[in-house]
Symmetry: C3
Subunit: 668 residues, 3 copies
C-alpha cells in the first residue's frame, strides 16, 4: 500500500435517480479515495442467463477514475439472481432446516456445479472487463463467505470421501469418535448416515471442520480465477467477518481465518461495534489484531459503521476516534458500509455516511475531517508494523467442540466469551497482542501465550506448548484446555491432558460453582468482584504453587489458580471462570512475570494507547480517550511530535485529551 | 334497526342433550332477542359430500320464531368438513410453514376453486332454505375471515398477474421496490420468485396488500351470493375482528376494514377485552369507534365475552357496564360468545353466559337485568348518531410496513401500539373520535386529525393533509409519518416527507433514546413521566415553534415536539415516543388549539362520558364508572332524565355513580 | 431377591482400551455385585444385517462370572444400527415434526414390522446365547421405552381401528368427543383425519392413551420373547423413567407404569435428582413409592447418578445418603449410570463412578463404603415390606387432559406439579405413602386417599370414591377433580362432578386469583404464606363445613377449602392452588382426622424417617439427615440396634445425626 485508504461501498445500482457526479463531488469533499463496487448485484450485471450488462460498472469506473478515486471490484457471487434459482432450484443450499427459499443472500450451495458454473462465468466476464481499467486497484472475491450450512446429499457424499481420505478405515473412525455409543457404529461405508441428525460431538465437529474447508476451497477457487486476470499491482482480498453477536466479536465459527487468508494478498474484515455510551474500542482492536495476525501484515477494514442503526449513530468525535483506532491496530484501509442510506429492503435502517436525503449531515461532516487527516498523515501512518510479545492462541476446533459440549444446560457462554474474558483485560491494561492458531509457525516467537479453553488439541500441539514453557516461555491456560484430543475424544489420563506436566497439577472432577469465591480474596478485588461462576475444576497441585483456593465448605481443599515453574518458563492455570477483575490481576501478574510490564501499562482504559513502527522507522504512538470526559496523563516516552496539531510533546509532559479524543505522536 | 338487539351465539349442534326448549325459556328470561347460528358447523349440515342435513337449523329457527327470538344465519364456510379435506387435501392453505394440517378452523385456501365450489354450494343450499323463514333477520358471511397466509403456487401466480396489472413492467417494480439490492432484481416475468422468502419489505408489504384484497374479494363474493336470496328487510353482515393481543385492540393486519365493509349492510365486530380489575372500557370504545367509522353508521357487536376465561369473568356490575358501553359507542347489538359453555374441544374454558351445568349463575342473572333494560330503553338508545370533530387516520399499509421495519432489533412495539398511545389518551380525557383511512372521503370534515406513524403514504395523501392544514385544519403527527412512499420506498428528500412543509421542520438522523427526557419538563409531568423511549428523530425546525427539546448531552440541540402554523391551520409534530403523560398533554393542547375543549373534558377516566343523538333528536349522555369506587361529579349539561331510574337531573346537580356503575341521561 | 444389589451399567464396547480386568478389580473393591450390559449397542452386536458378533458380551459375562459379579443383559433395541436405517429409512418414526433423522436413540417407529422383525431377531440371538450363562440373573427389555410420538399413516390406521373397536360407531365418537364443534364431525370412517392437527382435546387425549398402549404392547411383546428363553431363577425387568424436568419427578406422560409393569417380574426405574445443596430425597422417595406401588413389591433402581453433571456431583456423604434412601423406600437394587465416564458423544459430561481417567476419586471411594455396608446389611435390609395407610391416586389420563386444558394461557403448571404440591408435604412430615391408579384394585385398603386434580374420570371411578368415603374412608380432593368424564367431556351437572355428593359442595364458576388469600389466615401460616395462585373455584357448600373462605372484595363469599362428613368418612376439598404451607396444614389435619398421626410425624424435614418390615419380621427404621448441619432428635420407638454402628439405642434416647448422615435401626 502506498497510502491510507478511506473508502465506502458504493452502489450506483441502488440509486433512485442519477447522482453519480454529485456523489463523487461529495466523496471528494470527504477525502474518500476508494469505492468498493459490484459484489451484491449479480442480477443487474447478468439480467438473464448469459446476458450481461456491465454498464453501471463501466460508468462508475470511468467517473471514479476521472475523480481520482480508486475502485475495488467485487465478484458478485454471494447473492444469486432470480433466473438462476428459477431454472435450477437445486443451487439453493439444503440445510438442516430443509431446502432453502429464494430471497436472502448467501443461500446457495457453494459446492454445487451449477452454481459454480455460473459463478465462474460471471467472474470471468466481470474481471476480464475491468482488469485493465486504471481505476481498479484490486478485487474482492465474494463477501463474508461461509458454507451456509449446506448439508445436502451431494455434500454428504463429499464428506464421506473426505473421511475415508483422512481416517482410511471405519474402524479408525468408530474408535476415534466412539461410535459404539448408542449404536452409532458404522460398519460399512454405504451405511454412513447423514450427519444432520448426529448426536456425536466428534463427528459433528469433524463435519464443521469439513465445512470450513469447503469455504476455504471455494475462496481459493475464486482467487485462482481472478489471479488469471489481475495485474501485478492489483490485489485480491476477502471481507471476512467475526462471530456476530449483534456486533462483531470473536473467532468466526464457519471459517478458519488463518487458513483461508493464505490465498489472499490482503486480509480484509468488517468490524461493527457498539457505539455511543458503549463505544470502548475493544471490538475494533480485537478484529484488527486477528486480521493483522492472519498474514502478519497490515489489513483492510472493508466495512465498518457510518451512521448505522439508531443505537450506533456516533456521538460527535466518535467517527474520528473509530477511524484512527483502526489505523492504530494496523489497518491500511477504513471503509464504510456504506456511502448512502438505502431506500428499500433489508438494510434501510443500516444507514450510510449519507442519510436517505443525500444531504450533508453531522456524521458526513465529521468524515470530512477524517479524510483530510488521512490524506495528510498517510505517509506517517500507513504500513506501520508491530512487534508484540504476547499472543493469544485461538482454535476454531475448540470453538466448535465447545458448542457441542457446553458448560451446562443453561449457560449461553461460548468459546469466544472465554477469549473475550482474557482479551478485554489485556486491552484495558494496554497490552497489545497478536493471535496465533494451531497452524501458526511463529508461536515460539512470543514471550507470553494466553491459551483460553483449548478444549480440543492434538498431543503434538500440547507437547509443543510444554516445550515452549520448558524453553523459557510463559503461558496462561484456562480451564478446559487439553481436555480432548484432536477428535474431541476426552483424554483417558489425568487432566489437564498432557499440559499437566508443565502446569504441575491434575484434576478429574469439576463442578458448577454456587456462591463460590476465592479464599481470602488473594487478588484483593473486593467482595463484589471475588466471584467464580459457571465452571470450576477441582485441581490438586503436584509441583505447582497454589495462587488461589476455592472458598466453599466442600471444595475448599482444591486449587482455583496455580502457577508452576517448568524448565525455564512458567505455566499459570486458571481452573474456573473468574470475574473480570480477577482475570485482570492474573494476567497482570503473568505479564509482569514475563518481564513485559512497562510504562504504557500504567495507563488504563478508558485511556488507550497503541503503537507501531512506521515506514521511516519511527515509533508512532496513539492515545485514545474512550470516554465522555476529558482525561489527562503524563507522557512517559521520548520527545515526540503530535501529528494532528504539530505540537512537540516532551517526555513527562502532562497531556490533556478531549472526550472521545485522539492524540497521535511520532517519536523523534 | 328497529331496536337494540341482545343476542347470543347458539349451537344446538354442540348440545350434549336436547335442551332447546329449556334454553329458549332461559333466553326469554334474560331478554335475549336474537341468536346467531350455523356458521361453524358445516360438517353437521353437510355430513357427506352433497348430502345435506339442515334439521338442526330448521328446528332452531322454528323454535326461536315461536318464542319471538330473531335469528342471524351464518354461512358455515370458515371451518371445512373432514370429507372435503380427505377428498381434496389441496383445499388446505399452503403457508410459509408448509402445507396445512386438518384440525383447526380457518385453514383453507380461500382462493382455491375446489373450496369455492363447495362453499358456494352450501351457501346456496342453506340460504335458499332459510331465506323465507320469518325468524331470519339477516345473514353473516363466514366469520373473522382472513387470508390464513395462503401462499401456495396458485396464489403466487395470481399475485404476479396482480403485479403486472398494477405496475405494468418489471422495470417499474424493480425501481419502485429497489430490487437491485442483494441481486433480487427480476428481469423476466417467468423468474418472479415466491415472495415467501423475500427480504424486500416493499415486496412483502405489497403482498400483504394483495392478501387483504383476497379477503375483500372472498367476502364480496359471498355477499353477492347471499344477496341473490335475501329479502329487502334482511341484512348481511360480517364479524370482523381486531388485532389479537390476548384481547381485541388495534387495526386488523389481515383485513382492510374500511374496504371490506363496503359490501355489507352492517359492520359487525367482535370485541374481547380485559376485565375484573383491568376493565377500562378502552377496547370497547376503540373497537366501536372503528366499527362505526367503517360505514359511518351504527354497528353490531356480534361477539363479546360473557364469563369467558378465569381472568375475564366479570365482577358484579361489569357485564352491565360493558353492554351499555357498547351501546354508548353506537352499537345496535350486543351479542355474547356464547350462550352455553362448551363441553369439549378448544373453547371449553371460553365460557358462555351459562356455565357447563346450564344453571342460572351470577353472570346470567346480571344479563337478565341488561335484557330487561335494553327492551325498555331501546326506543331511546337505538340508532343514536355521533358528530365527532376529531379523527384518527389509520393505515393498514403503515401497519404492515412497520412490521417489516421495526423500531429496532429488540422492540416489540408495533403500529397499533402507537395508535394506542394516542387513542387511549383521548379516551381518558373523554374526547370521542372517529377513524379515517387513506381511502376515506370525509377527512376534510374533521377539525382535528391525529396521524400516528403514517409510515407509508402516497404523495397525494400527504399533500391532501398539507392542504387540510392550510385550510384551517389541525393535525398532530407522530414520528415516522411520511417516511416512505406508497411502495415503502424511503423518500429521498428531507424528512418528514412532504409534510415537512406543513410541519415546518426537517430531520435526516434518528437515534435510540437512552436516559433521554424532555428538557426542563415542559409539560410538567414530573420526573417519572418525563421520559422518551425507543425512537427519537433529531428534528431541526425551519418555521416551527419548538415545544420541547431533548435533554441529552449530545442530542440536546434537536427538537422533540414542534408546532407550526401553516396557512390557517396548525400542525404539531411529535418526533419521539413520549410517555403517556406527555402524549396526553400534547393532545390536550392540540384539542384546545382546535377549539374542541369542553366541559366533558373536565371529567377524566375512570369517569367516562359518551354522547349521541337519538332517533327523536334528543341528546343521550352516558356516564360510566370504570372503577371499584363510588365516584361523584357535577353534571354540566342541560336538565335531563335519567333513563334507568326515571329521575330528573338538573344542570350542575351533583351526581353519585356506583362502582362499575352507569347513568344514562336524555336531555329534555 | 436374595440380597441387595449394588450395580453399574457397563459398556466394554465404549472403552478406549482393554480395561476389563482392571475394571472388575475396581468393582470388586467397591462391592459392585451386578453389571447391566448390552442394551445400547446393537450396531456392535450386529455390525451388518444378519451378521452377529457377541464377543464383547461373551467376554464380559465370563469375566464377571469369574469375579462373582452378576449380570443383567438388556435387549439392544432402543438404538437402531446405521445399516437398518440406510436399508429401511421408514423404520424411523414419523412424528408431528415430520420424518425422523438418524442419530439419536429412540427414534424408531415401535409399530413398524421391519423394525419389529430385526428387533425380534437380535433379541432371540442375544438371549438364546446368554440364557445359560451362570452370570446372568435377569434381563432388561429395551430401555426407557416410549412411543416417540410415532404418528405416521400406519399408526393412524391402527388408531382408527382401535377407535372403531372401542366406540363401535362414529356417532358415538362424535357425541362423546363433541366433534360437531368447528366442523370436526366425522361422518364416514374413510374421512377420519390424522390426529396430528386436531384441536379436540378429547380426541387428542384418546390418541395419547392409544400411544401408551403401543408402549405396553411393545414391551409385552419383548417380554413374551424373552420369556421363551429365561430360566425360572432369572427375571425380566424394564427401566421405566418419570417425567423429565431436568431431573426425574412425576408420572410419566408416555407410559402407564401401572399397566406396563404387569408383564415384568420386577419394576425397574431410573431416578435422577438434584444434588449438592438441593438434595432433599424427595425425588428418590417419589420415584421409589411409585415403583414399589406398581407391583406392590420391592423394585430396582436400575440407574441413578454417580458423579453426573457439574451441578449433581455429590458432596461427601451424599452418595451414601442417596443409596440408603433408595433402600429405605423399598429398592432391592441401586445401580449407577454408569461405571466410567464416556469419552465421546452426548453423555460425555454425564459422569460415572469413575472419571475419564479411570482412577479412584472421592465419589468412587465413597461407593466403596456403600458396597461394603450393602454386603454386610443385606440380610437385614433386602425385601423389606411396607404397610402404608395413605395413598395418592394418580392418573395418566388426567395428566394428558390437563396438557390439553391448561390452567390458563401463561401458566406452565402441569398435573405433576399438583401431585408434587401434595406429595412433597407428606414427605416433609414423614408420612409414607403408596400410589394407586384408576386400575388399581387395592384402593379400598387405604385409610386416606389424596386425589390431586383427577380431571378426567369415569362415573364408575367417582362413584367408587364416594362409596370409599361413605364406608369410612378419608379423601382429600383438589380442584379440577371430577370435571370431565373418561372422554374428557365436561360433565353437564354441578361441579365437582359426582363427587359433589361426598364433598357436600358445588360450583359452576372459577376465576384466576390475583392478590387473593384465605380469609383470616385460618391455617396460621402468616401473611407471606397465606396465598392462593393460578386457579380458584367459587365453591358454595351444601352440607360441607367451610374451612377457609377467599379474601377478595368480590369473591369473598365463596369457599376455598371445605370438609364434609359423608357416611362414615370425611371428604376434604381444596378449591384452589394454595401455598405449600397451607397444603401442609390441610394434609396434616386430614391425616389427624384419619387417625394416622404418630410420633414419626413430630419429626420434620430435613430429618426424614422411613420404615419397613424385614425378612425376619423385624421393624427397620431409617433416619436421614438431608442437611449440611448436625441434627439431633429423641428416638421415639422401641429399643433398637443401630446396624451401621452396632450400638443399641433405647427408647427416648437422644440421637445425633451427621450432616447428610444416616442411621439405620432394627427394632429388637
Amino acid at each position: 500500500m502506498e497510502k491510507l485508504i478511506y473508502g465506502v461501498a458504493y452502489y450506483d445500482e441502488y440509486m433512485s435517480y442519477d447522482r453519480l457526479e454529485k456523489d463523487i463531488q461529495m466523496m471528494k469533499d470527504a477525502g474518500i479515495n476508494m469505492v468498493r463496487i459490484a459484489e451484491s448485484t449479480w442480477s443487474t450485471h447478468e439480467p438473464q442467463n448469459g446476458v450481461f450488462d456491465f454498464s453501471s460498472v463501466d460508468r462508475v469506473l470511468d467517473a471514479m477514475h476521472d475523480a481520482g478515486i480508486q475502485v475495488i471490484v467485487g465478484t458478485p457471487t454471494y447473492a444469486v439472481p432470480t433466473w438462476m434459482v428459477k431454472e435450477h432450484p437445486d443451487v439453493l443450499a439444503e440445510t438442516p432446516a430443509g431446502k432453502g427459499k429464494y430471497g436472502a443472500r448467501q443461500i446457495m450451495d457453494i459446492t454445487h456445479p451449477t452454481y459454480l458454473y455460473y459463478a465462474e462465468r460471471i467472474i470471468r466476464k466481470l474481471i476480464s472487463r475491468v482488469k485493465d481499467h486504471p481505476a481498479v486497484i484490486g478485487y474482492q472475491t465474494d463477501n463474508e463467505t461461509k458454507h451456509y450450512n449446506t448439508v445436502g446429499p451431494n455434500v454428504q457424499v463429499q464428506f464421506v470421501k473426505y473421511m475415508r481420505e483422512k481416517f482410511e478405515t471405519l474402524d479408525n473412525i468408530n474408535k476415534a469418535f466412539g461410535l459404539d455409543y448408542w449404536s452409532n457404529r458404522i460398519n460399512s461405508w454405504e451405511d454412513f448416515p447423514s450427519v444432520v441428525g448426529t448426536i456425536n460431538g466428534s463427528l459433528g465437529s469433524e463435519f464443521s471442520k469439513f465445512q470450513r474447508k469447503l469455504v476455504k476451497d471455494f475462496l481459493e477457487w475464486q482467487v485462482s480465477i481472478v489471479n488469471e486476470y489481475k495485474h501485478s499491482d492489483q490485489f485480491v482480498t476477502q471481507n471476512f467477518d467475526f462471530e456476530w453477536r449483534g456486533y462483531s466479536y470473536g473467532i468466526q465459527p464457519d471459517v478458519d481465518h488463518f487458513e483461508a487468508s493464505k490465498a489472499f494478498d490482503y486480509t480484509g474484515v468488517d468490524i461493527y461495534h457498539p457505539s455511543q455510551d458503549d463505544l470502548t474500542g475493544i471490538e475494533i482492536s480485537f478484529g484488527g489484531d486477528v486480521a493483522r495476525s492472519t498474514k502478519g501484515k497490515n489489513y483492510f477494514v472493508l466495512e465498518t459503521e457510518a451512521q448505522a442503526f439508531t443505537h450506533w449513530t456516533p456521538y460527535p468525535g466518535q467517527l474520528r476516534l473509530q477511524a484512527f483506532s483502526h489505523v492504530a491496530s494496523g489497518a491500511n484501509m477504513v471503509a464504510y458500509w456504506h456511502w448512502h442510506s438505502i431506500h428499500n429492503s433489508l438494510e434501510t435502517y443500516w444507514k450510510g455516511l449519507l442519510s436517505h436525503d443525500f444531504e450533508p449531515n453531522p456524521v458526513y461532516n465529521e468524515a470530512k475531517t477524517i479524510g483530510r487527516d488521512f490524506a495528510k498523515l498517510s505517509p506517517k501512518l500507513v504500513n506501520a508494523k508491530k512487534d508484540n510479545k504476547v499472543a493469544i492462541l485461538v482454535s476454531n476446533e475448540s470453538l466448535t467442540a465447545m458448542e457441542w459440549f457446553k458448560f451446562n444446560f443453561t449457560s449461553t457462554k461460548n468459546y469466544n466469551d472465554i477469549i473475550r474474558l482474557t482479551y478485554d483485560q489485556l486491552y484495558k491494561m494496554n497490552i497489545e497482542c497478536d493471535f496465533v492458531s494451531p497452524i501458526s509457525e511463529n508461536i515460539d516467537s512470543y514471550d507470553l501465550l494466553i491459551v483460553p479453553a483449548l478444549y480440543t488439541a492434538s498431543d503434538e500441539l500440547l507437547k509443543q506448548l510444554n516445550t515452549f514453557v520448558e524453553n523459557g516461555g510463559h503461558i496462561v491456560y484456562t480451564f478446559k484446555s487439553g481436555f480432548t484430543d484432536e477428535n474431541v475424544k476426552v483424554r483417558t489420563a489425568h487432566q489437564p491432558g498432557i499440559i499437566d506436566e508443565a502446569c504441575g497439577i491434575y484434576y478429574n472432577m469439576f463442578v458448577e460453582p454456587k456462591n463460590v469465591s476465592l479464599k481470602d480474596d488473594p487478588y484483593q478485588v473486593g467482595e463484589e468482584n471475588n466471584t467464580v461462576d459457571t465452571w470450576m475444576e477441582l485441581v490438586t497441585p503436584t509441583t505447582a504453587e497454589v495462587l488461589a483456593y476455592y472458598d466453599h465448605p466442600h471444595w475448599g481443599k482444591y486449587a482455583a489458580i496455580t502457577k508452576n515453574n517448568f524448565g525455564k518458563g512458567v505455566a499459570t492455570y486458571i481452573a474456573c471462570i473468574p470475574s473480570e477483575a480477577i482475570m485482570a490481576k492474573v494476567l497482570e501478574n503473568a505479564v509482569k512475570d514475563a518481564g513485559l510490564w512497562g510504562v504504557d501499562q500504567e495507563l488504563r482504559f478508558p485511556l488507550i494507547t497503541k503503537k507501531g513502527t512506521n515506514q521511516t522507522g519511527n515509533t508512532i504512538r496513539y492515545y485514545f480517550n474512550y470516554s465522555d470526559d476529558t482525561l489527562s496523563f503524563t507522557y512517559p516516552h521520548r520527545k515526540a511530535q503530535a501529528l494532528l496539531t504539530d505540537q512537540v510533546i516532551d517526555d513527562n509532559q502532562e497531556i490533556e485529551i478531549d472526550p472521545w479524543g485522539i492524540i497521535i505522536l511520532e517519536e523523534q
